[in-house]
């Protein structure tokens, strides 16, 4: 049942260093080029190129008919994207910030997620909803949230989040090709982080987790913005003589429990890290299921590090609110102390 992470086949000649935001931009460009049915929709995605410039230059090159500045109404954006998908288009929708997806929540949950099932499979809804999410950029209210659990609980949606530029590029390609609605959470504080992107690589499956650092003493599970943090934690822990394995989930729904299980059967300790509040967050589902799968392997309860049960705090407090190197190390210590 358990499988090791796949490694992307890399041909250096086609690979280049790229910021995460740029990688998504390139991926969208490629999708627009290769499939005339792909559309980009959202507020300010045109001339401005989006507030994070992720759609920079696309309207200029593909026209207003394919890269569409919409009225300021998220329910309208998702609702019309559904109609466009019914007409055969493949809309890639941008929600400007995490906190502004809620006006569209009804269309996403009651319509987008259920329409394929409602039609007994007769119609497909290949829509990608891009959401820059998470904190750490010193923003004002509603601009730093991590609402992924609110989508993962809803059947009919797939929920993914890349942690680096290469995954951002490829996962976006795969999300657009998917015939299911995909909520694509972009770790906004990593937009400017660069990595090698091989645009000719053969990517692994979209919903498969990756072991991004091997280790033997404890497993750290994260996705999106927290993967980098967990790698840092593993680095520090290594100096202290502890060998941490770090998993990048990449996909929250479906969630690759097999890869997590395989790791935990080896390390016997698991800490899950995410920015979203712990209460009813992804960590709960991972803890519950992995405890069920690895009951006799676990030497400590699955510990969770995440946001507190409070609205996302003002920027000057976010470092206290968000999982930090120290907070994760603290959880590692506690887990290993069992």
């Amino acid at each position: 049942m358990t499988m090791a992470a796949e490694t992307v086949t890399s041909r250096t000649v086609t690979s280049q260093s790229m910021a995460l935001a740029k990688a998504i931009n390139e991926s969208l460009r490629k999708a627009l080029e290769s499939d005339p049915k792909v559309l980009i929709m959202g507020e300010d995605v045109g001339k401005l190129g989006g507030v994070f410039r992720v759609t920079d230059g696309l309207q200029k090159d593909f026209g207003e008919d394919r890269v569409i500045d919409t009225p300021l109404a998220e329910s309208g954006i998702v609702g019309t994207a559904i109609g466009l998908a019914l007409r055969g288009y493949r809309p890639v929708v941008e929600i400007q910030f995490d906190g502004f997806v809620f006006p569209a929540y009804d269309q996403i949950v009651t319509q987008l997620a259920k329409m394929h099932a409602r039609a007994l499979g007769k119609i497909k809804l290949p829509i990608v909803i891009r959401i820059p999410y998470g904190g750490g950029i010193g923003a004002v209210e509603h601009h730093s949230e991590s609402p992924e659990a609110l989508f993962a609980h809803v059947a009919g949606l797939k929920v993914v989040s890349p942690a680096n530029a290469s995954d951002a590029y490829w996962m976006m390609q795969q999300a657009i090709q998917s015939n299911d609605p995909v909520i694509f959470f972009e770790p906004k504080r990593r937009y400017w982080d660069k990595a090698e992107v091989d645009v000719e690589a053969i990517p692994g499956p979209l919903h498969k987790a990756k072991v991004v650092r091997e280790g033997t003493d404890l497993t750290l599970v994260a996705y999106g913005p927290m993967v980098k943090l967990c790698l840092e934690v593993a680095g520090v822990a290594a100096e202290e003589g502890r060998s941490l394995e770090v998993l990048d989930l990449r996909s929250v729904s479906p969630l690759d429990f097999d890869t997590v299980q395989a790791s935990v059967e080896k390390t016997r300790h698991l800490v899950v890290v995410h920015e979203a509040p712990v209460f009813f967050g992804s960590g709960a589902e991972i803890a519950a299921r992995i405890t069920e799968r690895c009951f006799y392997h676990l030497e400590a309860p699955v510990l969770r590090v995440g946001g507190y049960h409070a609205p996302y705090p003002p920027a000057r407090l976010e470092d206290e609110y968000l999982p930090s190197l120290d907070r994760v190390l603290d959880a590692v210590d506690r887990s290993l102390a069992y």
Binding site: G76, G83, R118, G121, I123, P254
Partner: protein
């Protein structure tokens, strides 16, 4: 499909028409190009209106103000509640080519739709359906607008558009699945360009608008029609669909059946001014039509659809009608409305008024009505039989179609469910 369904017999053709000419786009050349013609109407004898001679081609001067501006005009009406044909220079051209066959077809559609609806209500009482949302009283609004659509047009219904479904050749028994609880819709929307019923009020108006945006992108001359109710007009989604449709000049007709009630709430709980006036502030015309007058609804909807085809953007049509029955079979309207209101509306019955007109103008004879009665009975019988024979879905259907491309958790849960199911077989088998 059995013989008694118009849908089955004359797929994608105009009601009762053998030639289908009234459905061609070419005909729209006759139509006035103005945004909305004045609604002043004058009575003519039923006799005169009944002559086959098409009405003189009207010279409609382009009006700066779209219909529905300023003070509330009269309803657009071509047939009075008493069944008399009234002249309307602006809209007459849209029904001028209707033959006797066509007129009888519209009548037949309304009668069979009502019969189907009654049968469904009865089936609910017998426990065969869990719920039924009756269209009683709204036949003209639905048949008139449904028959105005072309096969390549796309329809986004609420949960009550059984008459429109009929016009789109959707097998009526297909509509019963969700009310019986065997599926949540389940027909293929693309086989008749008739989307699934939508229960979350107002949502479908955005889907319709998006679809229409796609039609425009494709350069097609199809149009889209979105149905919704007076209650739905309050939903933010409906307002957003008006904005998107206007900004993108989408070829969509917003067809609001104002049946005076949203469950127990009268229209005054949703708006202080006539609903068709809502459109103007979004930059497109709104028209109120007598929703119990099938000819007027047909004419106004055709006009609106043709505007859309010509690239003139959205229109709001408010069909002023009445929900004669309870909201659904779960409802008891006597708790919140008086019988006299219903009685007053009975006098405006859409079927009775067309019958009077057909009889008075010799468009139909006794034989037609008798034959229709028999056809009606046979439709009822078929519906009954099909529903009673509808099997419960296989439990494993729960695990199908949540995703198009599969999902690991669904596979896991399906396997667990299979094992759980098997544990009984094992026990029973043991």
């Amino acid at each position: 499909m059995t013989v008694e369904s118009t849908a089955a017999r004359k797929p994608r053709r105009s009601a009762g028409s053998k030639t289908g000419t009234t459905r061609t786009t070419a005909q729209s050349a006759d139509a006035p190009a103005a945004d909305a013609p004045p609604t002043a109407a004058k009575r003519v004898t039923a006799k005169r209106a009944a002559t086959k001679k098409p009405a003189a081609k009207p010279v409609v001067k382009a009006v700066a103000k779209p219909a529905g501006t300023g003070t509330d005009p009269d309803l657009v009406q071509l047939l009075t509640p008493e069944g008399r044909r009234v002249e309307n220079a602006a809209y007459d051209p849209y029904v001028a080519a209707l033959t006797s066959d066509d007129l009888r077809g519209l009548y037949r559609d309304m009668v069979l739709t009502r019969r189907f609806d009654a049968e469904a209500t009865a089936l609910q009482r017998q426990g065969e359906l869990g719920l039924w949302a009756s269209l009683l009283g709204q036949e003209a609004a639905q048949i008139g607008s449904g028959r105005a659509t072309r096969p390549d047009d796309y329809v986004f219904p609420t949960y009550r558009e059984h008459g429109v479904a009929w016009c789109r050749d959707v097998d009526p028994t297909n509509l019963l699945g969700m009310f019986r609880g065997v599926n949540n819709g389940g027909w293929d929307p693309n086989s008749n360009n008739f989307h699934l019923y939508t229960i979350v009020i107002g949502s479908q108006t955005l889907h319709a608008t998006g679809y229409a945006m796609g039609v425009a992108k494709d350069g097609a001359d199809s149009a889209v029609i979105a149905y919704f109710g007076d209650g739905a007009s309050s939903q933010g989604d409906v307002a957003e669909s008006f904005t998107f449709a206007s900004v993108y000049n989408a070829p969509v007709v917003f067809f609001c059946q104002n049946n005076q009630w949203a469950i127990s709430e009268p229209t005054e709980r949703q708006t202080r001014v006539p609903l068709y006036q809502r459109a103007q502030g979004y930059g497109f015309p709104g028209v109120r039509v007598d929703g119990n007058d099938v000819l007027a609804v047909l004419a106004v909807t055709k006009w609106a659809l043709e505007r859309a085809r010509r690239g003139e953007g959205p229109t709001l049509v408010e069909a002023f009608t009445y929900r004669m029955g309870d909201h659904t079979t779960s409802d008891d309207a006597s708790r919140y409305r008086h019988d006299d209101e219903r009685v007053a509306w009975e006098a405006k019955d859409p079927i009775a008024r067309l019958r009077t007109y057909l009889e008075a103008s010799n468009h139909a004879d006794e034989g037609f009505f008798a034959e229709l009665e028999a056809e009606s009975e046979s439709l009822g019988r078929r519906v009954r039989e099909v529903v009673r024979a509808m099997p419960d879905p296989d439990p494993f259907a729960m695990f199908e179609h949540t995703y198009a491309d599969g999902h690991a958790l669904v596979d896991e849960e399906r396997a667990q469910f299979a094992a759980y199911q098997a544990s009984f077989t094992d026990v029973e088998g043991a």
